[in-house]
């Protein structure tokens, strides 16, 4: 088996950390969104976790597709 362990962490519960309880670092005008340190960290976590999860499943799929019998 090439990569039995690429089902990597379901880190997307990161979203749970995105409650606004503190003063904003800056605001995004278009969205009228106040960005605090907490939700900035949460946002970055979602980005990294999504790369890990989407990339992990896709790259595993790509590797496994090559093992299919080609007759």
């Amino acid at each position: 088996m090439p990569f039995p362990a690429t089902i990597v962490g379901a880190l997307l519960s990161a979203g749970g950390a995105m409650l606004v309880h503190e003063s904003a670092l800056f605001t995004i005008p278009g969205l009228n969104l106040e960005v605090t340190l907490t939700n900035l960290l949460g946002f970055l976590a979602v980005v990294f976790a999504t790369i890990n999860v989407v990339g992990g499943f896709m790259v595993t799929h790509r590797m496994l597709e090559m093992f299919k019998r080609k007759d």
Binding site: A5, G9, A10, L41, F43, A45, V46, F57, M63
Partner: protein, 463 residues
């Protein structure tokens, strides 16, 4: 919003799908389905988490889009030969995500509750330390495999183990302070910095050829970090999936260490003992190495009935897998049986050779594992070693003082004729000469892996 019972049921379904998917991945025939089942489980877990509510959707959705785009583009665009470093990178991103989630949760929690539970605080510290080590360790592994910034060789210096122990002690010490005093959130970032330095130093001391073990171990760490974060958030599906990854990663690590007859501690802290005085290259090779040509190899292959090809990292570097496929097809069309002997630690990630050969359309049942092919090596007419060295070095069987003593090898020396395709007589990762190159039944073809195979193909066609 949706009730907790419904969410937890969804998590239970997701967790069951992870287990079923992982089981499917254990066999090539069910692996594609297994991976898709795992992905479905992930999707259910994500949707359930979103339904929990209280989320700032703008940020989540934009995070999803950015992450999914980057992850998908990397996964689609990457060259197959660059797969090990990509996998290292993904592990690292899992680690940093755990670190960030735990940090964000800590800030949020102390804002509303000055006295968080000890369980949460301990789990936060664990997420930070393991996440930071995973992230920076993976970045160094990536750099080593990509050949940028850090050297491929182990970077060693006096007292290195003490430095690492001190860094670990500092991280844990700060962690204890944070658990006792949760509102001092700056301790979390300090301990993450110390753990980051530790992650860099841990992996920088390990050589490029040991990266398969390191990648398996970092994969395990990324799972452990996720599980710790699960305890921070009290999120069951994260605890379960993190534990699954952590456990499967450590099992794989163990398999790879066994394949080298080395302990994990030796891989992580020892490296190959360069101090021992083993046989000098001149004594081993002096006047005994026979060099050959593509024409001679073509003649040998045409009269052979059974040929075994042993690929190594050199095949990946030379990008020779497609040329190898052409040689395979040509020989099979002439009625020669051709098989590939796969050593568990050949290449730079678990299954590296399998992936490359599969990319070149070599049928999976032609890849034979070491333990299955060794008993039949004596019936092999020609064994072709392509860019492998230490994994075919018979010294592992014969010299108990050798740094690779006891490591299981592919017994190519037992074949009737051995052809070694290699640029020079330079040693492999273990840094020792290989008496196989000077054996009576061995012919050396000094050439680039891809060019060598192409020249052999034309020689067979012209004959």
């Amino acid at each position: 919003m949706v009730s907790d019972t419904f969410i937890n049921l969804a998590y239970l379904v997701a967790a069951s799908l992870f287990v079923v998917g992982l089981k499917g991945l254990a066999h090539p025939r069910t692996a594609v389905r297994g991976n898709l089942i795992g992905a479905l489980g992930m999707l259910i877990a994500i949707v359930a988490t979103l339904l929990k509510g209280n989320l700032s959707f703008e940020l989540i959705i934009s995070g999803f889009i950015v992450g999914a785009l980057v992850g998908a583009i990397l996964a689609i665009k990457i060259e197959m030969t660059a797969m090990p470093q990509l996998v290292a990178l993904y592990n690292g991103f899992g680690g940093i995500a755990s670190l960030l989630v735990a940090g964000a949760e800590l800030l949020k929690e102390v804002g509303v509750n000055p006295d968080p539970s000890t369980q949460m605080m301990v789990a936060t510290v664990a997420s930070g330390i393991i996440g930071a080590v995973t992230f920076w360790g993976s970045l160094v592994a990536f750099a080593k495999l990509q050949g940028v910034v850090v050297p491929d060789q182990p970077v060693r210096y006096p007292g290195e183990q003490i430095v690492k122990i001190v860094l670990l002690g500092l991280s844990i010490g700060l962690g204890v302070l944070l658990v006792q005093n949760p509102s001092a959130t700056e301790y979390y970032w300090y301990l993450s910095i110390f753990a980051s330095v530790l992650g860099v130093l841990l992996v920088i001391a390990i050589g490029g050829a040991d990266m398969p073990v390191v990648i398996a171990l970092l994969n395990s760490y990324s799972g452990l970090a996720a599980a710790a974060t699960g305890f921070v958030l009290n999120n069951n599906v994260l605890i379960i999936s993190g534990s699954l990854v952590g456990a499967s990663g450590i099992i794989l690590t163990n398999i790879m260490c066994k394949a080298m007859n080395r302990s994990l501690a030796n891989v992580l802290f020892g490296g190959f003992g360069a101090i021992q005085e083993t046989a000098k290259a001149d004594d081993v090779y002096g006047g005994k190495v026979k060099s050959t040509s593509a024409e001679e190899i073509a003649m040998l292959l045409e009269t052979a009935r059974r040929v075994v090809i042993v690929p190594g990292y050199g095949m990946a570097v030379a990008q020779a897998q497609h040329a190898v496929r052409d040689l395979f097809n040509l020989l099979e069309s002439k009625g020669v049986t051709v098989e590939f002997a796969i050593h568990p630690v050949a290449g730079r990630m678990p299954g590296h050779m399998n992936v490359l050969l599969a990319e070149a359309d070599i049928p999976y049942d032609k890849l034979i594992e070491m333990d299955d092919i060794n008993p039949t090596m004596e019936q092999v007419d020609v064994a072709i070693v392509l860019g492998a060295n230490d994994v075919v070095n018979p010294v592992a069987r014969t010299d108990p003082n050798s740094p690779i003593a006891g490591m299981p090898i592919i017994d190519v020396d037992k074949a009737k004729t051995v052809i070694v395709i290699k640029r020079s007589l330079s040693p492999g990762f273990a840094g020792i000469p290989n008496p196989l190159f000077a054996a009576d039944n061995t012919l050396m073809f000094f050439n680039d892996g891809k060019k060598a195979v192409q020249e052999i193909i034309s020689a067979i066609k012209e004959a």
